[in-house]
């Protein structure tokens, strides 16, 4: 190791936050879930809200997310996280209830819960990981799977005739008056991570100020499901996913961002 002499507390620039537990995450190497977990945990630490944060884990790859966040947590049935969060936040208006959901959980089986929580303007934070595939069950087609994309249940590529269109649920949710902040981020480069973290911070700040629903989509990779190395998956994500799911704010302070 180089420059070992500067390893001193006063020189510390970055270390893993204590709001993440020391458990080794079960995610595949290079998966964006870990990175997204980290920035959420960092925001919770920086805002000093660990005692008020309630994490709702979904069903899917992040089903065990509650093992990694050092905050009180609940595991929801598939798609139901926004219903849990609705009740918890209404019963504890000063808490910081957030859901962490994948595309299958949020945009397929949990569509009703998602749309209605957002439409009621529940004062919750929803973190939505979109990698266009069901990772946990072995790489099946998701509502956000791109046209032509091969998955275990669209082995010849998704077609409109058979499967309909990729669902841009984030744009849809932005249309609802209950959403206050809707943004789409990614965590594949350090610049992107910093921006995504800023968005997560904004979401929790909005919640603190009781502004309604804040929704942060993170377009992410699934190198196992996509059958690529992690760096290659990130490149593929930029070239393909970002076309259908462009990065940037969609709704800020309750107003749609005009592009």
């Amino acid at each position: 190791m180089f420059n070992q002499d500067i390893v001193k507390p006063e020189n510390l620039v970055y270390k893993k936050t204590d709001v993440l537990t020391d458990k080794i995450m079960h995610y595949c190497p290079g998966c964006g879930h870990g990175t997204t977990h980290r920035i959420i945990a960092e925001v919770i630490e920086e805002m000093g809200i660990q005692d008020k944060a309630i994490c709702i884990a979904p069903v899917g790859c992040s089903v065990l997310a509650y093992n990694y966040f050092e905050v009180d947590s609940l595991g929801a049935a598939h798609g139901r996280a926004p219903a849990l969060a609705t009740a918890i936040q209404r019963l504890n208006p000063d808490h910081h209830t957030f859901t962490y959901q994948g595309d299958g959980d949020l945009a397929a089986i949990g569509t009703a819960e998602t749309i209605h929580a957002c439409n009621r303007g529940e004062n919750i934070v929803i973190i939505f990981i979109n990698n266009g595939i069901y990772g946990m069950t072995g790489g099946q087609m998701a509502p956000t799977t791109l046209i032509g994309m091969q998955t275990a249940t669209s082995p010849y590529g998704r077609t409109v005739e058979l499967n309909g269109y990729p669902l841009q649920i984030t744009e849809l949710l932005a249309q609802l008056p209950g959403t206050y902040f809707v943004t789409r981020q990614s965590v594949h480069t350090s610049a992107a991570v910093r921006k995504a973290k800023k968005a997560v911070r904004q979401a929790f700040e909005n919640q603190k100020n009781k502004k309604g629903t804040s929704f942060v989509e993170v377009v992410s990779n699934c190198n196992s499901g996509w059958k690529m190395t992690a760096p290659k998956a990130n490149e593929w994500m930029v070239e393909n996913m970002f076309v259908k799911y462009p990065i940037g704010d969609i709704k800020v302070d309750g107003e749609i961002v005009q592009k």
Partner: protein, 362 residues
Amino acid sequence: MAKELKLMKGNEAIAEAAIRSGCDGYFGYPITPQSEVMEYLMAEKPWERTGMVVLQAESETSSINMVYGGAGVGKKVMTSSSSPGISLMAEGLTYLAGAELPALVVNVVRGGPGLGTIQPSQADYFQATKGGGHGDYQLFVLAPATVQEMYDFVFLGWEIAFKYRNPVMILSDGAIGQVMEKLYVGDYVPRWTDEELRKNAPWASFGKPADRDHHIITSLELDSAKQEQHNHKLQAKYREMEEKEVRFEAINCDDADYIFVAYGSSARIAEKAMQLGKEKGYKIGILRLITLFPFPKKKIAELSTKVKGMLAVEMSAGQMVEDVRLAAQFRCPVEHFGRYGGIIHTPQEVLEALEEKIIKRK
């Protein structure tokens, strides 16, 4: 305790009991014949009376998962529905049981299957007592027969739910839900303060203080050995309920030749049938079940050695009768009578069935 006399529908009594019993949150979805529960709550504005939260959800699926969320953070939360809605809640019920969460669920049963009818029925007995959702689990099931019991069982329900960390179902029916009767309501039980919640539900995910590890509420355990252990724990809990929490009312059973076994509306009808039978010289008793799970196996076993026969009276094609037979172990004849699909049997029909199936049995 100050008692106040009121005239109310069964559904309204549930709602008023919720407010007075310190309920923190009600989450529901309209369905006949239980819609008055939420209508009453919304009109009463309990958020002004006690701070209780009331929310109309987008579906029963959502309602029960709101209940799961509220229960997971240690709050006293409940929902109500009727049969088709309870089917939608089956998922949430098994998750509640698996995660060992206390909650109160009211089923004002209507005739099925499918969309069925909106008239009273008791055909959800299996669903309530044998699962309904997947996995080895039990709900604690209370069967009110009067509007007063609709009210009282909300209070009892909280007690049981938190004592055992288990969902409690009040299995009512369209008749008890809709009928207006007088009832006594009592003093308010205040909603728990944060300190009381931490004391009464120390396991809950109410927000991690600095001095303990994080709490996780889940029904998931991927390690099969641990999952089996968890199941052992649940089973032990259910056996403890069977040991300690069986509730029933034995009416004229001591010197009876025949027993009507019934609950809810059917028990009321059986009472009249018992009187009609007495005029004909029959010695009939009624075992009115108050808890359907835990089921009064011992009492039925005891009675089965003394009587000439039992008639299970229920508004179904014959569900509870299976448990009566299991408990009676062929020591006496056990038969079933009941109208179903939304039809309520008459006392005359019940007595005729007793005569036909038991008394004149060859």
